[in-house]
C-alpha cells in the first residue's frame, strides 16, 4: 500500500455540514451584535455618513471572512477527525503529490473574492475621502497638542479646547463638518468612531477629515496615535446640537471674557503668575498659545482633555497640582497657598 498514488481525490461529503455552518454563522453574528449593543462608543453605533459606510463595509467583510473561516476550519477539523491514525494501523497512506486542477481552483477562488472586495473598497474610499469641501460646510481647524485638543473656528472667531461643538443638519440634510487637522508637536490621531474613521494629525501637514450628523448627542473619541506620556488621556468629545443652540454657543464663545471686579484678586494673580504665558483669556493680557484657551472655561463639561468633570473641586485640585490628576502633563504645579488658590479658582469660575 505504501507510496501508492490514488487515481483521484476522495470526494468530501459536504452536504450534511451546510446546516451546521449556517447555524454557527448566525451564532457569531448574534454574538457580535449583542457585544456592540452594550457600549455606545463603537464602530457600529454610527450617526454620520463616513462611519455608516464603514459599518456597511465591516459587515460585508465580517460575512466574507466569517464564511471562509467556517469553511477552512471545518475542512481542518474534518481532516483531523476523518484521517486520524487508527490503532494498530502502521501502514503508510497513499502519497498524493499534488493536483493541478485543484490547486488552480483554490488560487482562482480567493483571487476572485479579493478582487470583489477590492472593488467595494475602491468605491468606499472615494466616497469617504472627499477632496472638495461643500460651500456650506463648517470648517474647524483642529490642532493636536501633547495631550489636549485645540479647536479653532476661523469663520466664527472662536477658539476652544477638547470639546468640539458642531451643528446637526435639518431633517433632510446633515451639515458637513470639515476638520483641518494639524499638530504643533508630535503625531496624534483624531478618532471619534461613531462619526468617522480616524485620521492622523501630523506636524508639517494638514489632513482633512469630515463627518456630518443629524442626531444631536455627545460622541466620545480619543487620540489614537501614541503621542507620549499621557496619550491615554487625550480624550475628546464632540457635542452635536441643533443649529440654534450651536449659534448661541458660538456667539457666546466669540465674546471676550467676563471681567468681574469681585474676583480682581484672582485675575491679578493669573496675570502675575506664569499662567498667562501658556493660556489665553480673551480681553486680558493673557495670550499664550501653549495651553487650552480659558476664556470660556466654565462652558466646558470636563477638564484636562476629558479626564475629569469640570466642577469646583476638580478645578481647584487641578490648579493646585495638575500632576496629581494627569501625571506627566505639561502644566507645572505652582505650590500656591490656599488663599491664592481660592482667589485663582474664584476667578476661573467666572469665565463662563
Amino acid at each position: 500500500m505504501t507510496g501508492q498514488r490514488p487515481k483521484g481525490l476522495i470526494p468530501v461529503q459536504a452536504k450534511r455540514h451546510g446546516r451546521g455552518i449556517l447555524l454557527l454563522a448566525f451564532g457569531l453574528l448574534f454574538f457580535a451584535s449583542s457585544v456592540f449593543a452594550a457600549g455606545e462608543t463603537n464602530i457600529v453605533q454610527t450617526v454620520s455618513p463616513p462611519a455608516d459606510s464603514i459599518k456597511f463595509l465591516f459587515y460585508l467583510l465580517l460575512a466574507v471572512v466569517g464564511a471562509i473561516f467556517l469553511i477552512v476550519e471545518g475542512a481542518l477539523i474534518y481532516c483531523m477527525v476523518r484521517f486520524r491514525k487508527r490503532e494498530g494501523d502502521e501502514s503508510e497512506p497513499p502519497q498524493i503529490y499534488g493536483s493541478k486542477p485543484v490547486e488552480i481552483a483554490w488560487t482562482v477562488a480567493p483571487a476572485l473574492i479579493v478582487f470583489v472586495l477590492f472593488l467595494v473598497v475602491l468605491r468606499s474610499i472615494v466616497q469617504i475621502r472627499k477632496v472638495d469641501v461643500p460651500e456650506d460646510a463648517l470648517r474647524v481647524v483642529v490642532t493636536g497638542h501633547q495631550w489636549w485638543w485645540e479647536f479653532h473656528y476661523p469663520e466664527l472667531g472662536v477658539t476652544t479646547a477638547n470639546e468640539l461643538h458642531v451643528p446637526i443638519g435639518d431633517d433632510e440634510n446633515e451639515r458637513a463638518v470639515f476638520l483641518d487637522l494639524q499638530s504643533v508637536d508630535v503625531i496624534h490621531s483624531f478618532w471619534v468612531p461613531q462619526l468617522s474613521g480616524k485620521m492622523d494629525v501630523v506636524p508639517g501637514r494638514t489632513n482633512l477629515l469630515w463627518f456630518a450628523t443629524k442626531q444631536p448627542g455627545l460622541y466620545r473619541g480619543q487620540c489614537a496615535e501614541y503621542c507620549g506620556t499621557q496619550h491615554a488621556n487625550m480624550l475628546l468629545r464632540v457635542v452635536a446640537e441643533s443649529p440654534e443652540e450651536f449659534e448661541r454657543w458660538a456667539a457666546q464663545q466669540a465674546k471676550p471674557a467676563v471681567d468681574d471686579p469681585k474676583v480682581a484678586a484672582g485675575r491679578q494673580l493669573f496675570m502675575s503668575l506664569a499662567c498667562m504665558n501658556c493660556h489665553t483669556i480673551k480681553g486680558t493680557p493673557a495670550n499664550g498659545t501653549f495651553a487650552p484657551d480659558l476664556t470660556h472655561l466654565m462652558s466646558r463639561q470636563t477638564l484636562a482633555s476629558g479626564m475629569v468633570e469640570n466642577n469646583p473641586k476638580n478645578l481647584r485640585d487641578w490648579v493646585d497640582n495638575p500632576q496629581s490628576i494627569k501625571p506627566g502633563c505639561l502644566m507645572p504645579s505652582f505650590q500656591l497657598s490656599s488663599k491664592q488658590l481660592d482667589d485663582l479658582v474664584a476667578y476661573l469660575e467666572t469665565l463662563h
Binding site: 472586495l117 473598497v121 468612531p193 485620521m199 482633512l208
Partner: protein
C-alpha cells in the same frame, strides 16, 4: 543513490561534558543555533513579564498599578524585544541548527561570521536592556514614530539605546541573512537541486533574501535618527523642513517584510512537520515554494498599509490596499496545501503535530483579520486599536510561536538526543491554546468598541473592562503553559527518553545522522535524488523520485 551512508550508531554514552569556554568560542552551527535559542528564551521571559505587567495595569478602567511612563516603556520594550530579541533569534537559531543538516552540509558557509552574528545579537539585546539602569528604557513604541523620537520630545538617552541596540543586533541579523543565502546556494548535498530542497530550506532562503532587503533601510533610518538626535540634523523634524512621514516610509519598508521574516521560517517548519505526522508527502510542493517567493515579492510592496490613516493620497491608499489584498492569495494557497496534506493521511497526534494544527487554526484567524484590515476604510476605524493588536498576535503568536513550539518539540530530540515528555507537551499545548485565545480574542472586540492601543489606562465610559479582564486572565493561563514547558524542557534534558536518530520516522537529511549530530554532521555527505531522501531509503520499492 542516497543509501551509501555509513551512519555511526548512536552510542548510549552521553556526549562528553563540554566546557563553557568551548561553547562561547564555538563556530559550530549547531551550538550557535542552540545558543540563539537559549538567549531568545531569556528575552522571551523578559518580554513576557513586561506583557503580564501591562495586562495587570489594564485590569480595569483607571487602575492605578503602573505609572504612565513605566507602562509606555513596557510596551515599547515588549514589542522591541519580541520582534528583535525573541522572534528573530529563535528563527535564526533554528535556521542555524537545521540548514546545514537539512542540506547535507558540514557547517554554514561562514562559520566565524555566524558566531559574530550571534554575539552581535546578544550584545544588541543587552545594550537595549541596559537602558533600564540608565534612567529608563525607551518609551517611543517599537516603531518609534518621528518626531516623538527627536531630542525635543524624547529627552535622555533611552531612544539612543534603542537605536544603538537595534543597529548592533541588526548587523548580526544581516550577517546571518547573508550566511544563509551563501550556505543554501553553494553547500547543498550532491543531487539536491532547487526543486529538491526541503520546504524549510526554501523558506529560509527566501527569508534571508528578505532580511538582506529589509534591514539596511532600518539601519539607514536609525542612522539618520541618531544624526538628528546627536548632531542636530533635521531629517525627521518637520519644524525645520524635515519630514515625519519619511520615517514611517523607511521604517515600514523594513517593518512589513519583517512580519514575513518572522512568519516564513514557521511556515517552513510546519511544512516539514505536517507531512511527517500525516504520513503524506506535502501536497503541491511547487506551489508552496512558488507561493513563498511570491509572498516575499509582494511583501516588499505593501508597507504603506501601516499608514492608511496618515492621510497619504487616495491613489496611494488604493494601490497599497490592492497589493495587500493580493498577498492574501499566496498565503491562502499555502493554507490549502497544508490542509490537503492532511487529507487522506494517517495523522499521528503527537505534540509537534498538534502545535502545527493549532498554527493552522489560529493563523487563519490572523490572516482573515488581515484581509479585513486591507480594506482601507475599515482600517481607518480599526488601525491603532486593539483590533490590530489582536490581529498581529494571531499572526505572530498563533502563527509564528505555535510553529516554533511545534518545531521545538520536533527537533529537540535531534538537538539533545532525548524526547520531550508527551503528556506535558499536550498540557503545554492546551493551556497555551486556551490562554492565547482568552487573551487575544477579546481584543478584537475592545478595539472595535473604541479602545486604542498603547494606552496605559482607559475611560470607564468606554465599557471595555470585561474584555480587558478576560485578556488579563488569559495571561495567567498562558503563564501556566510556559511553566509546563519549562518543566518539560528541563526534565527532558535531564532524563527524557532516548530518542535515537530518527524518532518520528521522518524524511529529511537531518534524521540520517546521530542525535545529537557529531561536529562534522555527516561522515559521508549523502547524495540526494528526491525531496525526501529518507523516504527513498525506507521505501526502495516506491521511491519519491519516480513521482516528482
Amino acid at each position: 543513490m542516497a543509501t551509501t551512508v555509513a551512519v555511526p550508531e548512536m552510542t548510549d554514552k552521553s556526549p562528553r561534558r563540554s566546557s563553557l569556554l568551548e561553547w562561547v568560542t564555538t563556530v559550530d552551527h549547531k551550538r550557535i543555533g542552540i545558543m540563539y535559542l537559549l538567549a531568545a528564551l531569556f528575552f522571551l521571559v523578559c518580554a513576557g513579564t513586561e506583557a503580564a505587567l501591562m495586562r495587570i495595569q489594564l485590569w480595569k478602567a483607571r487602575f492605578d498599578f503602573l505609572e504612565p511612563d513605566t507602562f509606555n516603556q513596557l510596551f515599547t520594550m515588549h514589542g522591541t524585544t519580541m520582534v528583535f530579541f525573541v522572534g528573530m533569534p529563535i528563527l535564526v537559531g533554528f535556521g542555524n541548527f537545521l540548514v546545514p543538516l537539512m542540506i547535507g552540509a558540514r557547517d554554514m558557509a561562514f562559520p566565524r561570521m555566524n558566531a559574530f552574528g550571534l554575539w552581535m545579537f546578544i550584545l544588541g539585546g543587552l545594550l537595549t536592556y541596559y537602558s533600564f539602569l540608565q534612567g529608563g528604557a525607551p518609551d517611543v513604541g517599537w516603531f518609534a514614530y518621528a518626531p516623538l523620537t527627536s531630542a525635543t520630545f524624547s529627552r535622555g538617552m533611552s531612544t539612543d539605546y534603542w537605536i544603538l541596540g537595534l543597529m548592533t543586533s541588526g548587523l548580526g541579523t544581516l550577517s546571518g541573512g547573508i550566511n544563509f543565502i551563501a550556505t543554501i546556494l553553494t553547500m547543498r548535498a550532491p543531487g539536491m537541486t532547487f526543486g529538491r530542497m526541503p520546504l524549510f530550506i526554501w523558506m529560509m532562503l527566501v527569508d534571508a533574501v528578505l532580511i538582506v532587503i529589509a534591514f539596511p533601510p532600518l539601519t539607514a533610518a536609525q542612522t539618520m535618527l541618531l544624526l538628528d538626535r546627536q548632531l542636530g540634523a533635521h531629517f525627521f523634524d518637520p519644524q525645520q523642513g524635515g519630514s515625519a512621514v519619511l520615517w514611517q516610509h523607511l521604517f515600514w519598508f523594513f517593518g512589513h517584510p519583517e512580519v514575513y521574516i518572522l512568519i516564513l521560517p514557521a511556515f517552513g517548519m510546519i511544512s516539514e512537520i505536517i507531512p511527517v505526522f500525516a504520513r503524506k508527502v506535502i501536497f503541491g510542493y511547487e506551489s508552496v515554494a512558488a507561493a513563498t517567493v511570491l509572498i516575499a515579492f509582494i511583501a516588499c510592496g505593501v508597507w504603506a498599509h501601516h499608514m492608511f490613516a496618515l492621510g497619504l493620497s487616495r491613489t496611494i491608499d488604493i494601490f497599497f490596499s490592492g497589493s495587500t489584498f493580493l498577498i492574501a492569495i499566496p498565503t491562502g494557497i499555502k493554507m490549502f496545501n497544508w490542509i490537503a496534506t492532511l487529507y487522506g493521511g494517517k495523522i499521528r497526534f503527537q505534540t509537534p503535530m498538534i502545535f502545527c494544527l493549532g498554527f493552522l487554526a489560529m493563523f487563519l484567524i490572523g490572516g482573515l483579520s488581515g484581509v479585513m484590515l486591507a480594506a482601507v476604510p475599515f482600517d481607518w476605524q480599526a488601525s491603532d486599536t486593539y483590533f490590530v493588536v489582536a490581529h498581529f498576535h494571531y499572526v505572530l503568536f498563533g502563527g509564528t510561536l505555535f510553529g516554533i513550539f511545534g518545531g521545538f518539540y520536533y527537533w529537540f530530540p535531534k538537538m539533545s538526543g532525548r524526547l520531550m515528555n508527551e503528556t506535558l507537551g499536550k498540557w503545554n499545548f492546551w493551556l497555551l491554546m486556551i490562554g492565547f485565545n482568552l487573551t487575544f480574542f477579546p481584543m478584537h472586540i475592545s478595539g472595535l468598541m473604541g479602545m486604542p492601543r498603547r494606552i496605559y489606562t482607559y475611560d470607564p465610559e468606554l465599557g471595555v473592562d470585561i474584555w480587558n479582564q478576560l485578556s488579563t486572565i488569559g495571561v495567567l493561563v498562558q503563564a501556566a503553559a510556559f511553566i509546563v514547558f519549562a518543566v518539560n524542557l528541563i526534565g527532558s534534558l535531564r532524563s527524557g527518553e532516548r530518542s535515537g536518530d530518527d524518532p518520528w520516522d521522518a524524511w529529511t537529511l537531518e534524521w540520517l545522522t546521530t542525535s545529537p549530530p557529531p561536529a562534522y554532521n555527516f561522515e559521508v555527505i549523502p547524495a540526494v535524488r528526491s525531496r525526501r531522501p529518507l523516504w527513498d531509503l525506507k521505501h526502495p520499492e516506491d521511491p519519491d523520485w519516480e513521482h516528482e
